[in-house]
């Protein structure tokens, strides 16, 4: 299984990858996860590669072979769309974060319609999950990643209860309740609650 997660530095992509990788390991599988720290994290484009199977060699997913592409931001989803395999599924948040060249007006902002159209053309199997909007409604933009995790959990083989336990084990005690709510909301958005 190849899961590529992408987003913008600060969106919680790394925690998201940690949870899925740990579930795969607990299930007795070989797991590799790759990410990049440092300069790339300062508001730049961030990816997490997660691969699990009985035996995994490369920690990097090859272009055109991702089973699941998870985009925390619409433009980032399109930036990595070429990693998606022929039968792969795209799960993305239609949320937008403008990069600096756009926000200072140096580069034209691609419209939602254009991005959405290109995603539709390149990913026939896809779900748009308004995770950011849902997180705000629940009280904190910071649980966007747990909403996404809830949505994605509908397409992975691990039981929902394992996800809940992993969340409870990884987030701060006072944030557990909100994160579990966010997880449930994500599952509902994919109609697998």
């Amino acid at each position: 299984m190849n899961v590529l997660v992408c987003g913008v530095g600060g969106q919680g992509v790394l925690l998201f990858s940690d949870i899925i990788s740990n579930l795969a390991m607990t299930a007795g599988l070989d797991v590799k996860k790759s990410e990049v720290h440092g300069m790339a994290q300062r508001g730049g484009s961030v990816t997490g590669h997660i691969r699990y199977a009985p035996k995994v060699f490369s920690p990097l997913i090859e272009e055109g072979t991702a089973d699941l592409l998870v985009g925390f931001e619409m433009m980032e989803a399109l930036r990595y769309i070429h990693f998606l395999g022929p039968n792969g599924r795209l799960v993305f948040d239609p949320h937008r974060i403008d990069p600096m060249p756009v926000s200072i007006g140096a580069v034209e902002r691609p419209t939602d319609e254009r991005l959405g159209g290109r995603l539709a053309a390149r990913a026939p199997i896809r779900q748009a999950i308004p995770a950011f909007a849902t997180a705000l409604r629940l009280g904190s933009s910071r649980v966007q990643n747990t909403v996404m995790l809830g949505a994605v959990s509908c397409f992975l083989e691990f039981p929902a209860e394992s996800f809940r336990q992993a969340i409870a084990g990884l987030v701060r005690p006072q944030a557990v309740e909100l994160n579990l709510k966010a997880f449930a909301a994500g599952r509902e958005l994919c109609s697998c609650a």
């Binding site: 390991m25 300062r42 508001g43 484009s45 490369s58 930036r79 926000s103 200072i104």
Partner: protein, 572 residues
């Protein structure tokens, strides 16, 4: 058996702990930082952030000479800083096991170059181990300590970004209790006076020969028999990519690439029809293979730049695969200074002036990008000040642009001090700006000599850069608060009108460090005249659209710099 998902860095830390390491020292640098961060969470190991990599290696060598097992960790370019003690350490040897971890960065994810530190092993005459995943990172670290002590030689463990920052499953072991052997005065070994060093060099050649003989039969290298049509020699992460792309080939996977196991390679070469060497960046192994007179393909097909990946291998060896093209025409997303970043204010204060600005290494290097445009050069750690000094000596009065250096607090302690002393000693007209955000920001908020705390969480003396500058002989010193943006600009402009050498300290803690989260600012659309003054700060929480500025309330931390610069009082 306990299994755990560990990054390569965390696995090195675990391996060092299991090996009974007593002392570990490092300077933070991507992708090596997490080694000491992880190691400092174990009991029984003294860990420190040293002022720089040279200091770290000398500290580790001091511990080794005292009979302790010691580790120094650094990013690849840190090895350049530590190169001086590295060469002496090879002569001196390792009373207690001495392991030097270098984390190279092919692909320049967060570095200024792609240097291949396997060559340091060849040049300094020390063994080099290259793990290919986290399990090996842990196992090889343990083995490196053993080899170091057995052969009385320091050992380099070379990670790359994809081994350091990839996580994979590791079987954990227990710590081997290992008493510190103790210090014995031995000047013919530990004091590299020419007369002694001459003998130590000859001894080093013998020690390295013994390691080479051992490496010929070592289980650190292994042959995996597959089809005899294609044989692949590889090391490190390249092995993982190659196994993925060429599942049927025969493999010689080298764990210790230096000293080079010649006979093993010769044996493998004759067992296959066609030989391919797969390694990242430089043809280190390939050159050795060719030197044996063995015909092999390698960098004639594979790139010498950037990191490898399964796709790069496939394209290079089998010809371009069915095209999977990235979506064209998307705006780039370069990294940017965070909302509330105090560097923002200082860079704004420097705009629109006639300056040549030497930059340095840290988050603030992003000040080179638009709209800040506040940096002309970036060379290496500490080079902002020395660049500006050289520039000033070359141009003198022939060029009106003021020579400025911009350097972070941690970088200043790392290697800026010597440059600052040089501007005083050799009197140049350089203004050094220390962007003091009270932490080592880029690598994730490590303490440094100015912060008053240590890696192990102890309180210590916080060295004040202003006092230090004064002690270095700097007469003019100005401290500003970059959140008071307009006031900073006014003071800086006045200060720049007088001759140097002089120092400005721009002091305000990193917004991430103190988790700044004040009420987001709002733009009053009736007052905003669309002049873009706030946009010129380059804050990522500010947007411009419909001829007005807007604040993104989900990422704004309420620092107020935009409100400070707004000429119409439209932001509050």
């Amino acid at each position: 058996m306990t299994r755990k998902l560990l990054s390569g860095d965390e696995a090195v830390a675990r391996g060092a702990w299991e090996a009974g390491c007593h002392v570990a020292a490092a300077y933070p640098g991507t992708p090596s930082t997490e080694i000491l961060e992880a190691l400092s969470t174990y009991k029984d190991v003294y860990c420190e952030w040293s002022t720089n990599e040279k200091v770290a290696l000398e500290v580790a060598l001091g511990a080794s000479i005292s009979g302790a097992r010691a580790l120094a960790a650094m990013k690849h370019v840190g090895m350049n800083v530590a190169a001086d003690p590295l060469f002496s350490a090879a002569y001196i040897g390792a009373h207690g096991g001495l392991v030097i971890v270098t984390a190279d960065d092919p692909g320049l994810h967060s570095s200024q170059n792609e240097q291949d530190n396997r060559y340091y092993g060849m040049m300094a005459k020390v063994p080099v181990l290259c793990p290919s995943d986290s399990q090996e990172a842990k196992d090889f670290t343990r083995r490196a300590f053993d080899i170091s002590e057995e052969f009385d030689i320091p050992v380099i463990l070379r990670l790359t970004t994809r081994t350091a920052h990839s996580s994979s499953v590791v079987e954990l072991g227990e710590r081997l209790p290992r008493p510190v052997k103790g210090y014995e005065k031995q000047i013919t070994k530990n004091l590299v006076l020419p007369a002694f060093a001459r003998a130590r060099h000859a001894d080093l050649e013998r020690r390295l020969d013994r390691v080479r003989a051992w490496n010929e039969a070592s289980d650190l290298n292994r042959i995996e028999k597959g089809s005899t049509q294609r044989g692949i020699i590889c090391d490190g992460i390249a092995y993982q990519y190659a196994r993925e792309v060429f599942p049927d080939a025969s493999f010689l996977k080298l764990g210790m690439v230096w000293p080079f196991p010649r006979e093993l390679v010769e044996r493998f070469a004759v067992s296959v029809d066609e030989l391919l060497v797969i390694e990242e960046v430089d043809p280190f192994i390939e050159t050795q293979v060719h030197a044996l007179g063995i015909k092999a393909s390698g960098k004639d097909r594979l790139p010498r730049t950037d990191e490898l990946s399964p796709r790069v291998l496939r394209n290079a060896v089998s010809g371009p695969a069915a095209s999977v093209k990235p979506e064209p025409g998307l705006p780039n997303r370069p990294p940017a200074l965070c909302p509330g970043c105090p560097h923002t204010g200082m860079f704004w204060a420097l705009q629109k002036q006639k300056l040549v600005i030497g930059g340095d290494i840290g988050c603030y290097t992003l000040g080179a990008l638009p709209p800040h445009n506040a940096m002309d050069t970036c060379i290496d750690m500490g080079a902002s000040i020395t660049f500006a000094h050289g520039c000033d000596k070359a141009l003198g009065d022939t060029d009106p642009r003021r020579r400025i250096a911009v350097i972070g607090d941690s970088t200043f302690f790392h290697s800026g001090i010597t440059g600052l002393i040089n501007t005083v000693y050799n009197q140049s007209n350089v203004i050094t700006i220390i962007t003091d955000n009270r932490t080592t920001g880029m690598t994730g908020h490590q303490p440094h000599p100015g912060t008053g705390t240590t890696l192990m969480g102890k309180d210590t003396i916080a060295i004040d850069p202003a006092e230090l500058a004064r002690a270095c002989g700097v007469k003019r010193i100005l401290t500003v608060d970059p959140y008071q943006v307009k006031e900073t600009r006014k003071q800086v402009r006045e200060f720049l009108s007088e001759p140097g050498p002089a120092v400005i300290i721009s002091r305000r803690p990193c917004a991430l460090l103190i988790k700044l989260r004040d009420t987001p600012k709002q733009v009053d659309p009736d007052k905003c005249i669309g002049c873009k003054t706030c946009i010129s700060l380059g804050c990522s929480a500010l947007l411009f659209g419909d001829d007005k500025s807007h604040v993104n309330p989900t990422i704004c931390v309420g620092c107020g710099m935009c409100a400070d610069v707004c000429p119409k009082g439209a932001i509050a």
